[in-house]
Symmetry: C2
Subunit: 165 residues, 2 copies
DNA sequence: TATTGTTATACTCTATAACTATA
DNA sequence: TATAGTTATAGAGTATAACAATA
């Protein structure tokens, strides 16, 4: 299965366009992310806000430090993200009387509502991106992607877009 | 196949982590892009330089305008990218005596050399990302991604990371 | 001293708009 | 007037490092 001599490395077409699986992954993945960002625009939140909101919704009372660690970003960035979400009235910082150094983060009623809308958006996005595939193909694709994600050591549910340089 | 009532929309696990195919695509795609950027670092070029170099290599003499149009970016951005690549000695601007308004862009000898190394890097990257998959699975994944790319109207070989807001 | 969070700062990326040279 | 390219500028995103409050 190893052609003795082919044009170049096999990752480009004769016309010079990239054609490898890795490029396709990056291309389609960036498109999916951009489309989701578009959908989110209507809600007034940015892609980076989504992970934060989701973690606070799942584990209310988390500190900024713990979010920074799980997302792989510097604490000062969490300050900016939390400032934004608090300014929009989606979350609130509650002082912990036991240890007044840290905040316990909680969703507000508005924040809970936005989370619900985000889930609806997520389902619509899923449908849009997978539109050309039948049920079997979707399952196949998911399995292949999960295999790569595990092999590459990606943390389930955490987007690498957060990761520090 | 429509469960009458499930936990949420189906795009999140009970623990609140996203699990949809679209999220996986975005996650794995971003990881692939980041790894490629890492590999490129050793060559001293950025991901955004790659498409430009490739287009100039494939069609020498192209103008900055034509690159801007194909990549979907504003001409002033091409100026910055071309400035960078010219500064590194990888490409050169040649005046066209027939129409002195535009430049014909060409790779230098160094640029050609870097293109060769980029192809090698591309093959290594491909191998790294697909490491957990056998030949059949790689072909399956490629086919599924190509189906989505076509359905979503993506231009073959052009990364959406360039696209204008 | 150690920890949580904040501020000040700087750097990169990228778009908009005004401008120059040429046609 | 129209086109190719450039410059000036501004805004978003994100890291580093110094700092304040609390433990």
């Amino acid at each position: 299965m190893t052609p003795s001599r082919q044009s170049g490395s096999g990752v480009e077409t004769p016309a010079g366009r990239p054609r490898g699986t890795a490029f396709l992954l990056s291309q389609v993945g960036a498109h999916a992310a951009a489309r989701f960002a578009d959908l989110l625009g209507g809600l007034g939140v940015a892609p980076a806000d989504v992970g934060l909101l989701r973690m606070i919704a799942t584990q209310p009372g988390r500190s900024q430090q713990s979010l920074a660690e799980e997302l792989g970003v510097v604490p000062s960035r969490v300050v900016a993200l939390v400032d934004g979400l608090e300014g929009k009235g989606l979350i609130e910082r509650r002082r912990n009387p036991r240890d007044r150094r840290n905040y316990a983060l909680h969703l507000t009623a508005d924040g809970t509502h936005v989370m619900t809308e985000m889930r609806t958006l997520g389902a619509a996005h899923e449908e849009e991106i997978c539109a050309g595939l039948d049920h079997t193909q979707r399952a196949q694709l998911t399995a292949l992607l999960e295999t790569i994600a595990a092999r590459q050591g990606l943390t389930p549910g955490v987007h690498p877009g957060y990761r520090q340089h």
